[in-house]
Amino acid sequence: MNTPSGGDSTVDAFSRFWTEAMSRAMGGGGWPSQSPPRDDLMRQMRQAFLDAWEHHCIELMSSEAFLELMRKSMDNALAFKGQMNQLLAKILEDSPIPSRDDTDSILQVLRSIEGRVLDRLDRLTERVDEIEERQDHAPARPPGPAKRKSK
């Protein structure tokens, strides 16, 4: 695929967009008549223009150059944010204020305890269910000898 220089490619892209927009707007039927266009015709032309514009924006944002630009921008932004996070963590470390990592550690401990307690409860519930089921299925005891009443 040809990759013309920056200026030429911009002109080419605009030419393609304009050609498509005009084609859609005219419905492929040539110039509008001499009489004033109706509102709906104006809306159709406007919508055609917007559709063409969107199509070309999407084409641009799908291009290799844009994707590469997006990747680099994000990498740079994340690197900067990462450095800010480290600086903030250092400041908090030197101050008596708890940092996010501190609260995170506490939460992890709590979640671990919660998980272990819930697992234990689940196991206990299963055992109780098993015991109840065994009791339900146990054969009925024969009635014992009648007790004598003492005088």
Binding site: L50, E54, I58, L78, K81, G82
Partner: protein, 344 residues
């Protein structure tokens, strides 16, 4: 002259913006776990079915899109059809939730909510309707717990990311998007980043066309009510728990493991062939977020014999709030579910 007339209408516009309300059906909270709430929709309609229905929405944005306004509510269709209807509200993850993994949502929150519903209603199995990423998670859940799900409805749910020609797929490609770097730095997937990305998928429609349409219809009170309700939802963005986002992007969007049967959740492999319940797969023809090609392959991947796919001419959000969908699609979906639910 027309412009001047519209200007005089501005106070009504501001009033409509101020009065914007979302949510058509009253709810009660019947279950909580961490920040997750299970909402029960209250209604006066006669309960015709015993099998409860639970909506599972995506982790981005809020689930009330399914019950946005009267006449634009998927929930109302099912409630009025006599279903005992619930919605899983994930809540808003904070920085402390960044270690929540996909298994915490699928095997934790969804499973506990389903167990609660089974106990509450006395029904052994429930019906699930999953929307977008919620549909993907619902599919994972059903594959892992097929004994608990009676019917599965997927709405614009991505399951197969093999098609790489649309914009979001290109942006999420592993060569372009390093999800590890994002989550290592931010903790959670930032709401602003997600919102911005979604807007840019249709830049002219969302940033220009929408406002032209608004200008042309700003004298219509009903239009204003619907517009501001929609705007409330669109701007009600929430972050996604970091490890869940990392997991989902890597396993699903980049490695496409779900449809290949190699996706791992909570130490278990998700095998879609274990899904044997009736399946209704609703795909949106004009979906710029989840193209049909990402949703439709689900029906060939499951073990169900009762499988239906409907491709509807609407966009991703239009499937839930569009007038056409409300008049045509949702009555059909209700009928489908009614035939496969236990009577009350």
């Amino acid at each position: 002259m027309e412009f001047a007339e519209r200007l005089t209408n501005l106070p009504k516009v501001f009033e409509a913006a101020r009065r914007a309300r979302v949510g058509a059906t009253p709810t009660e909270v019947v279950f909580r776990h961490d920040k997750v709430r299970l909402l029960h929709y209250l209604n006066r309609a006669e309960r015709r079915f015993r099998t409860p229905l639970v909506f599972v929405f995506a982790l981005v944005n809020r689930p009330y899109i399914l019950d946005l306004r009267p006449g634009k509510s998927v929930v109302q269709h099912f409630v009025e059809a006599g279903f005992d209807t619930y919605n899983l509200d994930w809540g808003v993850p904070s920085a402390n939730d960044r270690r929540l993994r996909l298994e915490d949502y699928v095997e934790g929150y969804i499973d506990r909510a389903v167990d609660h519903l089974r106990e509450r209603t006395g029904s052994e199995r429930v019906s699930i309707l999953g929307y977008c990423m919620g549909g993907t998670m619902s599919a994972m859940y059903t594959a892992l717990h097929p004994d608990k799900v009676k019917n599965l409805i997927l709405l614009a749910a991505p399951v197969d990311w093999s098609q790489r020609d649309h914009l979001l797929a290109k942006w999420m490609d592993a060569k372009v998007f390093d999800v590890d770097k994002l989550i290592d730095v931010y903790g959670n997937a930032p709401a602003d980043l997600l919102q911005g990305s979604f807007l840019l998928l249709r830049p002219v429609s969302n940033l220009v066309g929408k406002y032209i349409n608004f200008y042309e219809n700003m004298e219509d009170e009903k239009f204003l009510e619907d517009f501001f309700a929609m705007e409330t939802w669109l701007n009600d963005n929430i972050p996604v728990a970091g490890e869940t986002f990392r997991d989902f992007v890597k396993q699903c969007m980049q490695q496409n493991r779900l449809i290949q049967g190699t996706c791992r959740v909570g130490g278990r492999t998700v095998d879609l062939r274990r899904i044997t319940c009736p399946v209704l797969n609703l795909a949106a023809e004009k979906d710029h977020l989840v193209p049909c090609g990402q949703s439709l392959p689900f029906n060939d991947a499951v073990g169900s014999t009762d499988r239906t796919a409907i491709t509807f001419p609407a966009g991703h959000i239009g499937m839930a709030v569009g007038s056409k969908a409300n008049h045509e699609l949702w009555p059909t979906a209700c009928d489908w579910l009614a035939k496969r639910s236990d009577p009350a």
